[in-house]
Symmetry: C2
Amino acid sequence: MFIDMQQCCRMLGTADDILILCHKSPDGDTVGAAYGLYHALTRLGRRAAVRCSDPWPERFRYLTEAVEMPEFDPKLIVAVDIAGENLLGDGLAGYAGRIDLCIDHHVSNTDYAVCTLLDAKAAAACEIMYSVIRHLGVPVTKPMADALYTGCITDTGCFRYSNTTAETLRTAAELIEAGADSVGITTALFETVSRLRMALENRVMDTLEYHFDGRCASIVMSQALLQELGAKVEDLEGIVSIPRRIEGVQVAVAFRENPSGSYKISVRTGEGADASAICRNFGGGGHVRAAGCNVPGPLEHAQALLLDAIGKELNAQ
Amino acid sequence: MFIDMQQCCRMLGTADDILILCHKSPDGDTVGAAYGLYHALTRLGRRAAVRCSDPWPERFRYLTEAVEMPEFDPKLIVAVDIAGENLLGDGLAGYAGRIDLCIDHHVSNTDYAVCTLLDAKAAAACEIMYSVIRHLGVPVTKPMADALYTGCITDTGCFRYSNTTAETLRTAAELIEAGADSVGITTALFETVSRLRMALENRVMDTLEYHFDGRCASIVMSQALLQELGAKVEDLEGIVSIPRRIEGVQVAVAFRENPSGSYKISVRTGEGADASAICRNFGGGGHVRAAGCNVPGPLEHAQALLLDAIGKELNAQ
């Protein structure tokens, strides 16, 4: 059942022993919204704890390391930034069917919780959570501000993505005034790159090729490269968006070799091409601007398949 | 003479035939502040014009192309985002000594104008100009909002640089509400890269080397590479800031070969190293975080000179 801000605050305002759940493979928005709410509830004198199926990523340690979470039998279970119960992950799967309150901004939210506060126009769950905390009447402290600022910038590419609204920027302004270390957090999350990542980006971009008069750009990520640099698959995350930024490129496609020799395909598109339509040809899917699928190798075969589908999609538009 | 907002608005509110000057090598902030003021003054029924010593960069065409500037004998000359008269450029040098009003945010402003409205805490001149327009009582229209938004994002790296304040973000929020095409402008200025630039970045980063346990990273930009890719020196602008972002790197140095065979050195530093101190060894200078100098070739000689100076600077801290 979808509820409004007042109903949400009535639930949070009267509860104790509140367990806050993040989605698996936690990003800055789920971690930030959870810790923001945690600090607000403990400030109100409530017992609360944050849990996630996966370990906290190192890069969000400034939010997670200072807090020792208590163990207790929860009386209210809250999911933040979780669009569906399948995103709870193995470690929290036992809470499926038991979520009392969900606070989320995904239009695809499945309404799995007893009550859901959904604002699909919000760029980040942290933007909604800031409003929740204000409505609860809790003064926003530095730990809350740091947590919520984190989600506001990670879900908007530091205010570069098209989901950024006036409300996002105003929320961020108020979080800075509440003490968020905006400079430190931005530098750590957006202006710092590991040596490994820099080497990976450079080597992968060495494989850049253009197709269809530059309307498509492709890159290759081989197992040999991962082994040579001692990198893991997750270190490649997001590299496909680099060729997407090239002027005139409507479709960027990455061919990532699986250990089995098949290829994991990631497609990113701009105006004039549908990524999910391309990937549906091979049993995959996703969104209009970002989608994926798997195709058999070898590389030449995978490339022939994808370029054929991409060419058809570009001509269809 | 430094003046306050009220005095500034009294000057602008009573004047007609207002000439607005930008600094040479115009960036988004000087163009945006000038066009924002231009639209506000014409909205008030005044005759105004914007001029610059250099042609408008192609990437700001959405601000400059629609407006035909009138010719007139100016009664008030306003400089925006211009820290010193030497920045007027050859084409506007004749206005030196004749500037009535300067609106600027550079702490280094030389107070060359009769009256100067300076706010060194503002991230952009456009942030001040938004306040000026509000104080003039002019409703902020889309052309004004587009212009001012441009300066707010170009001078802050789209809100990533440490000069970004709560006030910057709040100004940007209000500009979006006033109709600024934030998504289109951000995509054009920050999310689009030319094929040439992408190739240059990739090839230059192929030359990356680490020194002093990774505390220094160096890159080389050769004449041969420029010729091979058909690139100009200005196409290399800002590439030195890429290695600066690598974790642990305190000093990034770029060796750019001059046609004569000598090397133009660019140094960027983080905490714990002074770029200008490094470059002063070779007759150059600049700021603590960004400086430059020229040294003789060949490359090995230039590298030996710089690495010696960088090593001393790193040990001195």
